[in-house]
Symmetry: C2
Amino acid sequence: MTVPATAAAPGLESSMLARAARIMYCFTAATPELTLTDMARRTGLPSSSVHRILDQLVQLRALERAGSRYRLGLGLLELGALAAQQNRLREAASPHLHRLHAATRVPVHLAIPDGHEIIYLEKVGGPPAGGAPTRLGGRQPAYCTGAGKAMLAFADEEEVAGVLGAGLAPRTPATITDPQAFRRELAGIRERGIALDREENHRGVVCVATPLRDGLGRPVAAISLCGAPGRLNPQALTPPLLMAARDVRRALSARRG
Amino acid sequence: MTVPATAAAPGLESSMLARAARIMYCFTAATPELTLTDMARRTGLPSSSVHRILDQLVQLRALERAGSRYRLGLGLLELGALAAQQNRLREAASPHLHRLHAATRVPVHLAIPDGHEIIYLEKVGGPPAGGAPTRLGGRQPAYCTGAGKAMLAFADEEEVAGVLGAGLAPRTPATITDPQAFRRELAGIRERGIALDREENHRGVVCVATPLRDGLGRPVAAISLCGAPGRLNPQALTPPLLMAARDVRRALSARRG
DNA sequence: GTGGCTTTCCCGGTTACCGGGAAAGCAAGG
DNA sequence: CCTTGCTTTCCCGGTAACCGGGAAAGCCAC
Protein backbone atom coordinates (compact mmCIF):
# COMPACT_ATOMS: atom_id res chain seq x y z
CA MET A 1 0.00 0.00 0.00
CA THR A 2 2.06 2.85 -1.26
CA VAL A 3 -0.18 5.82 -0.65
CA PRO A 4 1.85 9.01 -0.99
CA ALA A 5 2.08 11.21 2.08
CA THR A 6 0.17 13.92 0.29
CA ALA A 7 -2.98 11.82 0.05
CA ALA A 8 -5.15 14.71 1.09
CA ALA A 9 -7.10 15.06 -2.12
CA PRO A 10 -10.79 14.26 -1.58
CA GLY A 11 -12.60 13.35 -4.78
CA LEU A 12 -9.91 14.73 -6.96
CA GLU A 13 -8.25 11.45 -7.70
CA SER A 14 -9.90 10.91 -11.02
CA SER A 15 -9.83 14.38 -12.50
CA MET A 16 -7.79 15.07 -15.54
CA LEU A 17 -5.60 17.50 -13.64
CA ALA A 18 -4.99 15.11 -10.79
CA ARG A 19 -3.94 12.41 -13.21
CA ALA A 20 -1.61 14.75 -15.00
CA ALA A 21 -0.13 15.81 -11.67
CA ARG A 22 0.37 12.22 -10.61
CA ILE A 23 2.21 11.60 -13.83
CA MET A 24 4.44 14.64 -13.46
CA TYR A 25 5.25 13.76 -9.89
CA CYS A 26 6.61 10.43 -11.09
CA PHE A 27 9.74 12.32 -11.95
CA THR A 28 12.16 12.60 -9.07
CA ALA A 29 15.70 13.77 -8.60
CA ALA A 30 16.83 10.18 -9.05
CA THR A 31 14.72 9.44 -12.13
CA PRO A 32 14.93 12.30 -14.58
CA GLU A 33 13.78 10.20 -17.52
CA LEU A 34 10.83 7.86 -17.68
CA THR A 35 9.06 5.92 -20.40
CA LEU A 36 5.35 5.62 -20.88
CA THR A 37 5.34 2.20 -19.27
CA ASP A 38 7.33 3.43 -16.28
CA MET A 39 4.70 6.03 -15.58
CA ALA A 40 1.82 3.66 -16.20
CA ARG A 41 3.30 1.30 -13.65
CA ARG A 42 4.05 3.98 -11.09
CA THR A 43 0.67 5.62 -11.29
CA GLY A 44 -1.35 2.46 -11.79
CA LEU A 45 -3.16 4.14 -14.68
CA PRO A 46 -3.89 2.22 -17.86
CA SER A 47 -1.19 2.83 -20.41
CA SER A 48 -3.61 4.09 -23.03
CA SER A 49 -4.67 6.84 -20.65
CA VAL A 50 -1.10 7.68 -19.79
CA HIS A 51 -0.30 7.84 -23.46
CA ARG A 52 -3.08 10.30 -24.15
CA ILE A 53 -2.19 12.52 -21.20
CA LEU A 54 1.51 12.47 -22.04
CA ASP A 55 0.72 13.73 -25.51
CA GLN A 56 -1.13 16.65 -24.07
CA LEU A 57 1.54 17.46 -21.52
CA VAL A 58 4.17 17.46 -24.24
CA GLN A 59 2.09 19.85 -26.33
CA LEU A 60 1.79 22.14 -23.33
CA ARG A 61 5.56 21.94 -22.81
CA ALA A 62 5.17 20.51 -19.33
CA LEU A 63 7.10 17.51 -20.58
CA GLU A 64 9.63 16.94 -23.30
CA ARG A 65 10.01 13.86 -25.31
CA ALA A 66 13.06 12.26 -26.85
CA GLY A 67 12.19 9.00 -28.54
CA SER A 68 10.51 6.92 -25.92
CA ARG A 69 11.93 8.91 -23.02
CA TYR A 70 10.10 11.71 -21.33
CA ARG A 71 11.56 14.49 -19.17
CA LEU A 72 10.14 17.47 -17.34
CA GLY A 73 9.82 20.37 -19.74
CA LEU A 74 10.57 24.02 -20.04
CA GLY A 75 7.03 25.11 -19.35
CA LEU A 76 7.42 23.86 -15.81
CA LEU A 77 10.75 25.60 -15.45
CA GLU A 78 9.12 28.79 -16.62
CA LEU A 79 6.18 28.60 -14.23
CA GLY A 80 8.35 27.32 -11.42
CA ALA A 81 10.76 30.23 -11.74
CA LEU A 82 7.83 32.61 -11.69
CA ALA A 83 6.37 30.87 -8.66
CA ALA A 84 9.69 31.21 -6.86
CA GLN A 85 10.01 34.83 -7.75
CA GLN A 86 6.51 35.66 -6.68
CA ASN A 87 6.74 34.02 -3.32
CA ARG A 88 6.43 36.81 -0.77
CA LEU A 89 8.57 35.17 1.85
CA ARG A 90 11.33 34.28 -0.53
CA GLU A 91 11.40 37.72 -2.06
CA ALA A 92 11.50 39.41 1.31
CA ALA A 93 14.23 37.12 2.58
CA SER A 94 16.42 36.85 -0.49
CA PRO A 95 18.59 39.96 -0.13
CA HIS A 96 19.23 39.22 3.53
CA LEU A 97 20.16 35.65 2.76
CA HIS A 98 22.62 36.84 0.16
CA ARG A 99 24.07 39.25 2.66
CA LEU A 100 24.36 36.48 5.22
CA HIS A 101 26.13 34.29 2.71
CA ALA A 102 28.50 37.06 1.75
CA ALA A 103 29.33 37.63 5.42
CA THR A 104 29.81 33.98 6.35
CA ARG A 105 30.87 32.32 3.08
CA VAL A 106 28.71 29.38 4.12
CA PRO A 107 25.72 27.93 2.22
CA VAL A 108 22.46 29.50 3.37
CA HIS A 109 19.03 27.89 3.11
CA LEU A 110 15.51 29.16 3.54
CA ALA A 111 13.04 26.41 4.39
CA ILE A 112 9.32 26.25 5.04
CA PRO A 113 7.32 23.55 6.79
CA ASP A 114 5.07 21.23 4.82
CA GLY A 115 3.47 18.49 6.82
CA HIS A 116 6.25 16.56 8.51
CA GLU A 117 8.74 17.70 5.97
CA ILE A 118 10.48 20.91 5.08
CA ILE A 119 10.81 22.40 1.61
CA TYR A 120 13.80 24.46 0.58
CA LEU A 121 12.54 27.72 -0.81
CA GLU A 122 15.91 29.25 -1.45
CA LYS A 123 19.50 28.21 -1.45
CA VAL A 124 22.34 30.67 -1.56
CA GLY A 125 25.88 29.62 -2.08
CA GLY A 126 25.98 25.87 -1.79
CA PRO A 127 28.01 23.67 -4.09
CA PRO A 128 27.18 24.69 -7.66
CA ALA A 129 27.45 21.06 -8.69
CA GLY A 130 28.16 17.87 -6.86
CA GLY A 131 26.53 15.78 -4.19
CA ALA A 132 24.54 18.49 -2.55
CA PRO A 133 22.24 16.94 0.02
CA THR A 134 19.75 19.78 -0.46
CA ARG A 135 18.00 20.94 -3.58
CA LEU A 136 16.01 24.07 -4.19
CA GLY A 137 12.40 22.93 -4.13
CA GLY A 138 13.47 19.67 -2.51
CA ARG A 139 12.16 18.06 0.66
CA GLN A 140 13.78 16.68 3.79
CA PRO A 141 12.27 15.29 6.98
CA ALA A 142 11.68 17.91 9.66
CA TYR A 143 12.85 15.88 12.66
CA CYS A 144 16.46 15.52 11.64
CA THR A 145 17.27 18.85 10.01
CA GLY A 146 18.29 22.08 11.66
CA ALA A 147 15.61 24.09 9.94
CA GLY A 148 12.99 21.42 10.64
CA LYS A 149 13.79 21.23 14.34
CA ALA A 150 13.90 25.02 14.62
CA MET A 151 10.34 25.14 13.34
CA LEU A 152 9.09 22.13 15.28
CA ALA A 153 10.35 23.69 18.49
CA PHE A 154 7.74 26.41 18.10
CA ALA A 155 4.98 24.34 16.53
CA ASP A 156 1.73 23.18 18.15
CA GLU A 157 1.92 20.23 20.47
CA GLU A 158 -0.35 18.51 17.95
CA GLU A 159 2.22 18.92 15.20
CA VAL A 160 5.05 17.60 17.36
CA ALA A 161 2.94 14.63 18.43
CA GLY A 162 2.25 13.90 14.77
CA VAL A 163 5.93 13.89 13.93
CA LEU A 164 6.75 11.64 16.87
CA GLY A 165 3.84 9.41 15.92
CA ALA A 166 5.25 9.00 12.44
CA GLY A 167 8.48 7.78 14.02
CA LEU A 168 12.02 9.13 14.23
CA ALA A 169 13.74 6.87 11.76
CA PRO A 170 17.53 6.95 12.14
CA ARG A 171 19.05 8.57 9.07
CA THR A 172 22.56 8.49 10.46
CA PRO A 173 24.04 7.19 13.73
CA ALA A 174 23.58 10.69 15.15
CA THR A 175 19.85 11.01 14.45
CA ILE A 176 17.81 11.60 17.58
CA THR A 177 15.41 8.68 17.67
CA ASP A 178 14.16 8.73 21.25
CA PRO A 179 10.94 10.79 21.66
CA GLN A 180 11.96 11.91 25.17
CA ALA A 181 15.34 13.07 23.97
CA PHE A 182 13.69 14.76 21.01
CA ARG A 183 11.36 16.75 23.24
CA ARG A 184 14.32 17.82 25.38
CA GLU A 185 16.10 18.88 22.20
CA LEU A 186 13.11 21.03 21.19
CA ALA A 187 12.99 22.60 24.67
CA GLY A 188 16.66 23.53 24.34
CA ILE A 189 16.00 25.09 20.96
CA ARG A 190 13.15 27.15 22.41
CA GLU A 191 15.53 28.43 25.09
CA ARG A 192 18.36 29.38 22.81
CA GLY A 193 16.41 30.28 19.66
CA ILE A 194 18.92 28.23 17.70
CA ALA A 195 18.77 24.68 16.43
CA LEU A 196 21.75 22.50 15.62
CA ASP A 197 21.88 19.54 13.31
CA ARG A 198 24.91 17.46 14.24
CA GLU A 199 25.05 15.12 11.26
CA GLU A 200 21.57 13.89 12.12
CA ASN A 201 20.35 13.91 8.53
CA HIS A 202 23.51 13.44 6.51
CA ARG A 203 26.93 12.30 7.51
CA GLY A 204 29.38 15.10 7.09
CA VAL A 205 26.82 17.88 7.23
CA VAL A 206 26.07 20.00 10.28
CA CYS A 207 23.74 22.99 10.44
CA VAL A 208 22.81 25.96 12.56
CA ALA A 209 19.27 27.19 12.10
CA THR A 210 16.84 29.68 13.48
CA PRO A 211 13.10 29.98 12.95
CA LEU A 212 11.06 32.84 11.56
CA ARG A 213 7.71 33.23 13.27
CA ASP A 214 4.59 35.12 12.34
CA GLY A 215 2.63 37.56 14.49
CA LEU A 216 1.04 34.73 16.42
CA GLY A 217 4.35 33.06 17.14
CA ARG A 218 3.82 30.22 14.70
CA PRO A 219 6.92 29.20 12.76
CA VAL A 220 6.55 29.97 9.07
CA ALA A 221 10.10 29.38 7.93
CA ALA A 222 13.66 28.84 9.06
CA ILE A 223 17.07 30.01 7.95
CA SER A 224 19.92 27.56 8.18
CA LEU A 225 23.64 27.55 7.60
CA CYS A 226 25.43 24.33 6.92
CA GLY A 227 28.88 22.95 6.36
CA ALA A 228 31.31 20.21 7.26
CA PRO A 229 31.58 19.21 10.97
CA GLY A 230 35.08 20.50 11.47
CA ARG A 231 34.81 23.69 9.50
CA LEU A 232 31.47 25.07 10.61
CA ASN A 233 31.66 27.05 13.83
CA PRO A 234 28.15 27.38 15.29
CA GLN A 235 29.20 29.86 17.97
CA ALA A 236 30.69 32.24 15.46
CA LEU A 237 27.83 31.90 13.03
CA THR A 238 24.99 32.40 15.49
CA PRO A 239 25.15 36.22 15.74
CA PRO A 240 25.07 36.88 11.97
CA LEU A 241 22.35 34.23 11.58
CA LEU A 242 20.18 35.86 14.23
CA MET A 243 20.79 39.27 12.70
CA ALA A 244 19.73 38.03 9.29
CA ALA A 245 16.61 36.48 10.79
CA ARG A 246 15.78 39.77 12.45
CA ASP A 247 16.24 41.61 9.17
CA VAL A 248 13.99 39.20 7.33
CA ARG A 249 11.36 39.52 10.02
CA ARG A 250 11.44 43.30 9.63
CA ALA A 251 11.27 43.10 5.86
CA LEU A 252 8.25 40.83 6.15
CA SER A 253 6.32 43.01 8.54
CA ALA A 254 7.22 46.11 6.54
CA ARG A 255 6.00 44.53 3.34
CA ARG A 256 2.76 43.42 4.90
CA GLY A 257 1.63 47.05 5.34
CA MET B 1 -18.91 26.36 -40.37
CA THR B 2 -16.85 27.28 -37.37
CA VAL B 3 -13.53 28.69 -38.41
CA PRO B 4 -10.71 26.58 -36.99
CA ALA B 5 -8.47 28.97 -35.10
CA THR B 6 -5.15 28.30 -36.78
CA ALA B 7 -3.21 28.97 -33.61
CA ALA B 8 -0.40 26.81 -32.27
CA ALA B 9 -2.30 24.03 -30.52
CA PRO B 10 -4.27 21.69 -32.76
CA GLY B 11 -7.39 20.42 -31.03
CA LEU B 12 -6.04 20.99 -27.59
CA GLU B 13 -7.76 24.26 -26.92
CA SER B 14 -10.64 22.80 -25.01
CA SER B 15 -8.96 20.13 -22.97
CA MET B 16 -8.92 20.36 -19.25
CA LEU B 17 -5.14 20.56 -19.21
CA ALA B 18 -5.02 23.28 -21.81
CA ARG B 19 -7.50 25.34 -19.85
CA ALA B 20 -5.54 24.89 -16.68
CA ALA B 21 -2.38 25.89 -18.50
CA ARG B 22 -4.02 28.98 -19.92
CA ILE B 23 -5.06 29.95 -16.43
CA MET B 24 -1.62 29.42 -14.95
CA TYR B 25 0.01 31.38 -17.73
CA CYS B 26 -2.14 34.36 -16.79
CA PHE B 27 0.41 34.99 -14.06
CA THR B 28 3.33 37.08 -15.22
CA ALA B 29 6.26 38.76 -13.56
CA ALA B 30 4.21 41.94 -13.40
CA THR B 31 1.03 40.33 -12.06
CA PRO B 32 1.86 37.93 -9.24
CA GLU B 33 -1.67 37.95 -7.85
CA LEU B 34 -4.91 37.56 -9.71
CA THR B 35 -8.52 37.10 -8.77
CA LEU B 36 -10.96 34.70 -10.29
CA THR B 37 -12.48 37.43 -12.39
CA ASP B 38 -9.08 38.59 -13.62
CA MET B 39 -8.39 35.15 -14.96
CA ALA B 40 -11.85 34.71 -16.40
CA ARG B 41 -11.37 37.92 -18.31
CA ARG B 42 -7.88 37.14 -19.50
CA THR B 43 -8.68 33.66 -20.66
CA GLY B 44 -12.15 34.38 -21.93
CA LEU B 45 -13.44 31.33 -20.07
CA PRO B 46 -16.73 31.50 -18.18
CA SER B 47 -16.13 32.32 -14.55
CA SER B 48 -17.88 29.24 -13.29
CA SER B 49 -15.41 27.11 -15.21
CA VAL B 50 -12.48 29.13 -13.97
CA HIS B 51 -13.77 28.75 -10.46
CA ARG B 52 -13.93 24.98 -10.71
CA ILE B 53 -10.48 24.69 -12.27
CA LEU B 54 -8.95 27.05 -9.73
CA ASP B 55 -10.25 24.86 -6.92
CA GLN B 56 -8.54 21.88 -8.42
CA LEU B 57 -5.29 23.70 -9.04
CA VAL B 58 -5.24 24.87 -5.44
CA GLN B 59 -5.77 21.34 -4.21
CA LEU B 60 -2.88 20.20 -6.37
CA ARG B 61 -0.74 23.02 -4.96
CA ALA B 62 -0.17 24.51 -8.38
CA LEU B 63 -1.82 27.65 -7.04
CA GLU B 64 -2.22 29.16 -3.60
CA ARG B 65 -5.12 31.13 -2.42
CA ALA B 66 -5.31 33.98 0.05
CA GLY B 67 -8.85 35.27 0.32
CA SER B 68 -9.85 36.18 -3.18
CA ARG B 69 -6.29 36.39 -4.46
CA TYR B 70 -4.52 33.56 -6.17
CA ARG B 71 -0.76 33.10 -6.63
CA LEU B 72 1.42 30.47 -8.21
CA GLY B 73 2.01 27.68 -5.72
CA LEU B 74 4.74 25.56 -4.29
CA GLY B 75 3.93 22.55 -6.40
CA LEU B 76 5.06 24.48 -9.43
CA LEU B 77 8.20 25.59 -7.67
CA GLU B 78 8.92 21.98 -6.81
CA LEU B 79 8.41 20.67 -10.32
CA GLY B 80 10.13 23.65 -11.85
CA ALA B 81 13.23 23.17 -9.73
CA LEU B 82 13.30 19.52 -10.72
CA ALA B 83 12.87 20.44 -14.36
CA ALA B 84 15.76 22.86 -14.11
CA GLN B 85 17.96 20.34 -12.42
CA GLN B 86 17.18 17.63 -14.89
CA ASN B 87 17.91 19.68 -17.94
CA ARG B 88 20.93 18.09 -19.57
CA LEU B 89 22.27 21.29 -21.04
CA ARG B 90 21.91 23.25 -17.85
CA GLU B 91 23.52 20.56 -15.77
CA ALA B 92 26.43 20.20 -18.12
CA ALA B 93 26.96 23.93 -18.33
CA SER B 94 26.39 24.92 -14.73
CA PRO B 95 29.83 24.32 -13.23
CA HIS B 96 31.52 26.08 -16.12
CA LEU B 97 29.19 29.05 -15.81
CA HIS B 98 29.98 29.31 -12.13
CA ARG B 99 33.66 29.19 -12.93
CA LEU B 100 33.21 31.89 -15.56
CA HIS B 101 31.38 34.05 -13.06
CA ALA B 102 34.05 33.54 -10.44
CA ALA B 103 36.74 34.52 -12.94
CA THR B 104 34.97 37.60 -14.31
CA ARG B 105 32.75 38.74 -11.43
CA VAL B 106 30.13 39.54 -14.05
CA PRO B 107 26.60 38.10 -14.30
CA VAL B 108 26.53 35.03 -16.56
CA HIS B 109 23.48 33.76 -18.43
CA LEU B 110 22.71 30.57 -20.29
CA ALA B 111 19.95 30.99 -22.87
CA ILE B 112 18.20 28.72 -25.33
CA PRO B 113 16.19 29.62 -28.41
CA ASP B 114 12.42 29.27 -28.42
CA GLY B 115 10.73 30.53 -31.52
CA HIS B 116 11.71 34.15 -31.98
CA GLU B 117 12.55 34.49 -28.34
CA ILE B 118 15.21 33.24 -25.98
CA ILE B 119 14.64 31.65 -22.58
CA TYR B 120 17.10 32.03 -19.74
CA LEU B 121 17.96 28.57 -18.49
CA GLU B 122 20.47 29.66 -15.91
CA LYS B 123 21.64 32.85 -14.33
CA VAL B 124 24.75 33.03 -12.23
CA GLY B 125 25.65 36.08 -10.24
CA GLY B 126 23.31 38.81 -11.31
CA PRO B 127 21.73 41.21 -8.87
CA PRO B 128 20.21 39.15 -6.05
CA ALA B 129 17.31 41.57 -5.88
CA GLY B 130 16.39 44.68 -7.73
CA GLY B 131 15.44 45.67 -11.24
CA ALA B 132 17.04 42.78 -13.00
CA PRO B 133 16.19 42.89 -16.67
CA THR B 134 16.54 39.12 -16.92
CA ARG B 135 14.84 36.40 -14.93
CA LEU B 136 15.61 32.73 -14.75
CA GLY B 137 12.95 31.07 -16.88
CA GLY B 138 12.11 34.43 -18.43
CA ARG B 139 11.95 35.36 -22.08
CA GLN B 140 13.43 38.13 -24.18
CA PRO B 141 13.27 38.79 -27.92
CA ALA B 142 16.09 37.17 -29.87
CA TYR B 143 16.84 40.05 -32.24
CA CYS B 144 18.01 42.54 -29.64
CA THR B 145 19.88 40.42 -27.12
CA GLY B 146 23.46 39.23 -27.26
CA ALA B 147 22.53 35.60 -26.73
CA GLY B 148 19.68 35.82 -29.22
CA LYS B 149 21.84 37.34 -31.94
CA ALA B 150 24.62 34.85 -31.26
CA MET B 151 22.17 32.05 -31.98
CA LEU B 152 20.44 33.73 -34.90
CA ALA B 153 23.78 34.22 -36.58
CA PHE B 154 24.06 30.46 -36.97
CA ALA B 155 20.40 29.67 -37.54
CA ASP B 156 18.71 28.64 -40.80
CA GLU B 157 17.97 31.35 -43.31
CA GLU B 158 14.33 30.45 -42.74
CA GLU B 159 14.57 31.27 -39.06
CA VAL B 160 16.25 34.60 -39.71
CA ALA B 161 13.66 35.47 -42.34
CA GLY B 162 10.95 34.68 -39.79
CA VAL B 163 12.47 37.02 -37.25
CA LEU B 164 12.86 39.80 -39.79
CA GLY B 165 9.32 39.18 -40.98
CA ALA B 166 8.03 39.63 -37.45
CA GLY B 167 9.70 43.03 -37.42
CA LEU B 168 12.59 44.56 -35.50
CA ALA B 169 10.72 46.76 -33.08
CA PRO B 170 12.97 49.37 -31.46
CA ARG B 171 13.33 48.57 -27.76
CA THR B 172 15.85 51.35 -27.17
CA PRO B 173 17.39 53.98 -29.43
CA ALA B 174 20.24 51.53 -30.05
CA THR B 175 18.13 48.62 -31.29
CA ILE B 176 19.05 47.54 -34.79
CA THR B 177 15.83 47.95 -36.74
CA ASP B 178 17.00 47.86 -40.36
CA PRO B 179 16.91 44.33 -41.86
CA GLN B 180 19.98 45.04 -43.98
CA ALA B 181 21.97 46.26 -41.01
CA PHE B 182 20.74 43.29 -39.01
CA ARG B 183 22.01 40.82 -41.59
CA ARG B 184 25.37 42.58 -41.64
CA GLU B 185 25.42 42.32 -37.86
CA LEU B 186 24.82 38.57 -38.05
CA ALA B 187 27.56 38.19 -40.64
CA GLY B 188 29.97 39.96 -38.30
CA ILE B 189 28.97 37.65 -35.46
CA ARG B 190 29.62 34.61 -37.66
CA GLU B 191 33.09 35.96 -38.41
CA ARG B 192 34.09 36.71 -34.85
CA GLY B 193 32.09 34.04 -33.01
CA ILE B 194 31.03 36.73 -30.58
CA ALA B 195 27.87 38.81 -30.40
CA LEU B 196 27.55 42.17 -28.70
CA ASP B 197 24.45 43.81 -27.38
CA ARG B 198 25.11 47.52 -27.09
CA GLU B 199 22.07 48.58 -25.07
CA GLU B 200 19.84 47.25 -27.83
CA ASN B 201 17.39 45.62 -25.46
CA HIS B 202 17.73 47.63 -22.27
CA ARG B 203 19.25 50.98 -21.63
CA GLY B 204 22.25 50.62 -19.41
CA VAL B 205 22.86 46.96 -20.20
CA VAL B 206 25.44 45.68 -22.63
CA CYS B 207 26.34 42.03 -23.27
CA VAL B 208 28.94 39.81 -24.84
CA ALA B 209 27.65 36.43 -25.96
CA THR B 210 28.79 33.34 -27.79
CA PRO B 211 26.75 30.47 -29.18
CA LEU B 212 26.90 26.78 -28.40
CA ARG B 213 26.26 24.60 -31.43
CA ASP B 214 25.45 20.96 -31.81
CA GLY B 215 27.15 18.41 -34.03
CA LEU B 216 25.37 19.74 -37.09
CA GLY B 217 26.34 23.32 -36.39
CA ARG B 218 22.87 24.37 -35.25
CA PRO B 219 22.82 26.77 -32.31
CA VAL B 220 21.30 25.14 -29.24
CA ALA B 221 22.21 27.72 -26.64
CA ALA B 222 24.29 30.77 -25.89
CA ILE B 223 26.33 32.03 -22.98
CA SER B 224 26.29 35.74 -22.29
CA LEU B 225 27.97 38.15 -19.93
CA CYS B 226 26.38 41.47 -19.18
CA GLY B 227 26.97 44.65 -17.30
CA ALA B 228 26.84 48.42 -17.42
CA PRO B 229 28.17 50.13 -20.59
CA GLY B 230 31.16 51.75 -18.95
CA ARG B 231 32.20 48.89 -16.73
CA LEU B 232 31.93 45.90 -19.03
CA ASN B 233 35.00 45.38 -21.16
CA PRO B 234 34.11 43.07 -24.07
CA GLN B 235 37.70 42.68 -25.22
CA ALA B 236 38.85 41.46 -21.85
CA LEU B 237 35.88 39.19 -21.35
CA THR B 238 35.97 37.47 -24.72
CA PRO B 239 38.77 34.98 -23.98
CA PRO B 240 37.27 33.61 -20.74
CA LEU B 241 33.84 33.52 -22.39
CA LEU B 242 35.14 31.49 -25.32
CA MET B 243 37.00 29.19 -22.96
CA ALA B 244 33.88 28.56 -20.93
CA ALA B 245 31.94 27.84 -24.12
CA ARG B 246 34.57 25.37 -25.18
CA ASP B 247 34.41 23.66 -21.78
CA VAL B 248 30.64 23.39 -21.94
CA ARG B 249 30.85 21.98 -25.44
CA ARG B 250 33.25 19.32 -24.23
CA ALA B 251 31.12 18.49 -21.21
CA LEU B 252 28.13 18.08 -23.50
CA SER B 253 29.80 15.80 -25.97
CA ALA B 254 31.39 13.79 -23.17
CA ARG B 255 28.03 13.32 -21.49
CA ARG B 256 26.37 12.24 -24.68
CA GLY B 257 28.39 9.01 -24.77
C1' DG C 1 -30.67 50.55 2.37
C1' DT C 2 -29.37 50.15 -2.37
C1' DG C 3 -26.74 49.12 -6.36
C1' DG C 4 -22.94 47.02 -8.55
C1' DC C 5 -19.53 43.66 -8.55
C1' DT C 6 -17.35 39.32 -7.45
C1' DT C 7 -17.50 34.74 -5.82
C1' DT C 8 -19.94 30.51 -5.02
C1' DC C 9 -23.27 26.96 -5.79
C1' DC C 10 -26.38 24.12 -8.54
C1' DC C 11 -27.93 21.07 -12.11
C1' DG C 12 -29.39 19.13 -16.62
C1' DG C 13 -27.08 18.41 -21.20
C1' DT C 14 -23.43 16.71 -23.75
C1' DT C 15 -18.92 16.33 -24.85
C1' DA C 16 -14.47 14.99 -24.08
C1' DC C 17 -12.41 11.47 -21.58
C1' DC C 18 -11.96 6.49 -20.48
C1' DG C 19 -9.72 2.17 -21.05
C1' DG C 20 -10.08 -2.51 -23.19
C1' DG C 21 -8.39 -4.40 -27.02
C1' DA C 22 -5.83 -4.92 -31.15
C1' DA C 23 -2.28 -3.48 -34.26
C1' DA C 24 2.27 -1.81 -35.09
C1' DG C 25 7.22 -1.37 -33.78
C1' DC C 26 11.28 -3.17 -31.82
C1' DA C 27 14.81 -6.28 -29.91
C1' DA C 28 16.40 -10.70 -28.78
C1' DG C 29 16.57 -15.39 -29.24
C1' DG C 30 15.51 -19.83 -31.44
C1' DC D 1 13.32 -16.08 -41.04
C1' DC D 2 9.99 -16.71 -37.84
C1' DT D 3 8.80 -16.55 -33.03
C1' DT D 4 8.36 -14.42 -28.58
C1' DG D 5 7.74 -10.84 -25.44
C1' DC D 6 7.58 -6.15 -24.65
C1' DT D 7 6.41 -1.30 -25.40
C1' DT D 8 4.05 2.13 -27.84
C1' DT D 9 0.27 3.64 -30.67
C1' DC D 10 -4.33 3.67 -32.48
C1' DC D 11 -9.35 2.97 -32.35
C1' DC D 12 -14.01 3.30 -30.74
C1' DG D 13 -18.36 2.67 -28.09
C1' DG D 14 -19.99 3.85 -23.36
C1' DT D 15 -20.34 6.99 -19.91
C1' DA D 16 -18.81 9.78 -16.27
C1' DA D 17 -16.94 14.14 -15.70
C1' DC D 18 -16.98 18.48 -17.32
C1' DC D 19 -19.55 22.50 -19.05
C1' DG D 20 -21.56 26.91 -18.35
C1' DG D 21 -26.00 29.51 -17.75
C1' DG D 22 -28.24 31.18 -14.08
C1' DA D 23 -29.29 32.35 -9.47
C1' DA D 24 -27.93 32.99 -4.78
C1' DA D 25 -24.72 34.73 -1.48
C1' DG D 26 -21.09 37.96 -0.07
C1' DC D 27 -18.89 42.22 -0.10
C1' DC D 28 -18.03 47.13 -0.63
C1' DA D 29 -18.94 51.85 -1.38
C1' DC D 30 -22.01 55.18 -1.72
